[in-house]
């Protein structure tokens, strides 16, 4: 009989990702409600050193699969390693972060286990031994509540929605090193990985996002967005209009055909707020809109609005933010 909760732990540059700590935090809360324990799975190369951090973030038991061929996460290679680990634990609930990596590995794992997968959940409730997952559909215009027909349930959690544990867990975890079966290695041959600077804030996980749109008028003005983002320690986003126009790369696009973000604060500069854009950011906790058109739809969902030309307002705002931080 499946029981217990299992969380897949993402890491980068030798550290747990923030989304991983959120997954572990929610996993621990679910395990406590169910009166059971939280098992974490970490896969990678030389990742044994992360067990203390994984324990602090909520795991009671940690399954470690460490092997050179897991150096980079792959859909099938990491997927098979995680499936093998899950068979050790037989959990009722399996959690991933709904990051690019989580959205890649979770479907592979769910398929191998013949299990249902609720993608990009914004809520998870447990009533007795029954789970309900809440997730946005139709570009965020509706939310559906789904229940698994049988267990386990696999769910990926939208970053920045579920809190990390308020206090690091003390004590020491049970750590189990699992072998990696060579036949599980990915069938992709990785030729090259071009990663951006490790200190750059990832868009989907950032607590603050500053996005720019057509109101910036010309590609060279996007530097204003980067300047404000730097001053705030924020990640940079872009509207579809300026990505389609070739001003910015697609990886920065926020919206239905781009990334979904849910930061603490989202600052939309010169973005009108088409439904296609709202789909990618409408669950942000606070939305600040800067737009010269008072009638722009973005003001309809903004928490705070400033009516003005982004080209004039952003430099003044950036200077004032810097001054406030120094003061």
């Amino acid at each position: 009989m499946a029981q217990g909760v299992l969380a897949y732990v993402e890491h980068r540059s030798g550290e747990l990702k923030k989304a991983a700590r959120e997954t572990l935090g929610e996993g621990k809360r679910c395990a406590t409600t169910l009166g059971t324990s939280l098992t974490a799975v970490i896969a990678g190369n030389n990742v044994e050193g992360l067990t203390a951090a994984i324990h602090e973030a909520g795991a009671d038991r940690i399954l470690v699969v460490s092997h050179p061929s897991l150096e980079e996460a792959t859909t099938d290679g990491t997927g098979r390693a995680v499936v093998a680990a899950i068979k050790e634990a037989d959990p009722a609930l399996i959690l991933f972060a709904a990051t690019a990596e989580g959205k890649d590995i979770a479907p592979y794992v769910a398929s191998a286990l013949d299990a249902g997968l609720a993608t990009d959940c914004v809520g998870l409730t447990i009533d007795g031994d029954s789970f309900t997952a809440k997730r946005p559909v139709f570009a965020g215009k509706s939310l559906i509540n789904v229940k698994p027909v049988d267990l386990p349930l696999v769910a990926s959690l939208r970053p920045n929605v579920f809190p990390v544990l308020s206090e690091p867990q003390t004590g020491s975890p049970e750590v189990v090193n699992l072998p990696f079966d060579d036949s599980h290695a990915s069938r992709l041959r990785i030729k090259e990985t071009k990663a951006v600077a490790a200190d750059k804030v990832e868009l989907t996980e950032a607590s603050i996002v500053v996005s720019g749109g057509r109101g910036l008028q010309a590609p060279e003005n996007f530097g204003l967005i980067e300047g404000l983002a730097d001053a705030l320690g924020a990640a940079v986003g872009a509207s579809r209009a300026i990505v389609d126009a070739g001003w910015r790369p697609h990886e920065e696009q926020v919206g239905q055909t781009g990334k979904t973000v849910s930061p603490q604060v989202y600052i939309a500069c010169g973005i009108s707020g088409a439904i296609q854009h709202l789909a990618g950011m409408s669950t942000s906790q606070t939305i600040i809109a800067i737009n010269k058109d008072q009638e722009a739809p973005i003001f309809g969902i903004a928490t705070y609005g400033l009516v003005g030309d982004a080209l004039e307002v952003i430099p003044a705002l950036t200077a004032a933010v810097k001054a406030a931080k120094e003061g």
Binding site: A100, E101, D104, A106, P107, Y108, A110, S111, A115, G116, L117, T119, T132, P136, V137, F138, A139, G140, K141, S142, L143, I144, N145, V146, V149, D150, L188, R189, I190, K191, E192, T193, K194, A195, T204, L232, H250, T257, G258, V265, I275, S282, T283, T286, I287, I288, A289, F299, I301, T303, L306, V307, G308, E312, V313, A316, L317, A320, V321, A324
Partner: protein
Amino acid sequence: MHQVVCIKRVPDTETKVKIGSDGKSIDLSSVKYDISPYDEIALAAAVELKEKHGGEITLLTLGPGEAQKELRKCLAMGADRAVILKDDNPFRDPASTSTMLASYLSTVTFDLLYFGNKAVDSDGSQVGIRVAQKLDLPVISLATRIEVNDKEVTAHREIEGGEQVVAADLPCVITAQKGLSEPRHASLKGIMAAKKKPLEEIDIEATGEKLEIVSMETPPARTEGRIVGEGVEAVPELVRVLKEELKIL
């Protein structure tokens, strides 16, 4: 080279979503449909490769007979034939969709099998990867560029904070990310030719679902916003909000 492109018709993005009287579905009576945008990108990529390497493109849809309309549009964009696996459940769980598609695809020989990385109605991001797992094929997800050389596919793919270049043996599954290709417009000649291209409807046994929709709801309304002011003069008030109300400075 035989390429198969899986197509889903989805409610148009501008569609107003009205929850049905059962409280767990949407009222589809006034919905306008379109091809899911990532599927359109996948098809355009397949057409580009066909222009270089020859061969045929088959479209595959799990859905109702009405999907003929969207498939004819895809045929006009350069595909050669289409298959509808008939299904009348518009809210089918991705686990079930995947096993049904995989069961049909296990009878087909192909070199490349494409999916959009997600369908923009259910936003599940899972069917392509699940089908690859079921068929035990390599999968390149979030592909932004592909080339085929003999029996190998090389692709660029988007990863968090960067890009990866990978290669795999054919047959291989690709999930399309924006940038892989530009969606095509059908020419008048294409539209005329599409009318004569074969479109087959096949009955398929529905497989069990793994998730049950319990209810559907409208997202909670956001609290009424506040305009802090106009122009540069409002910047000090906005900074005060960032500092005192949002506590991010």
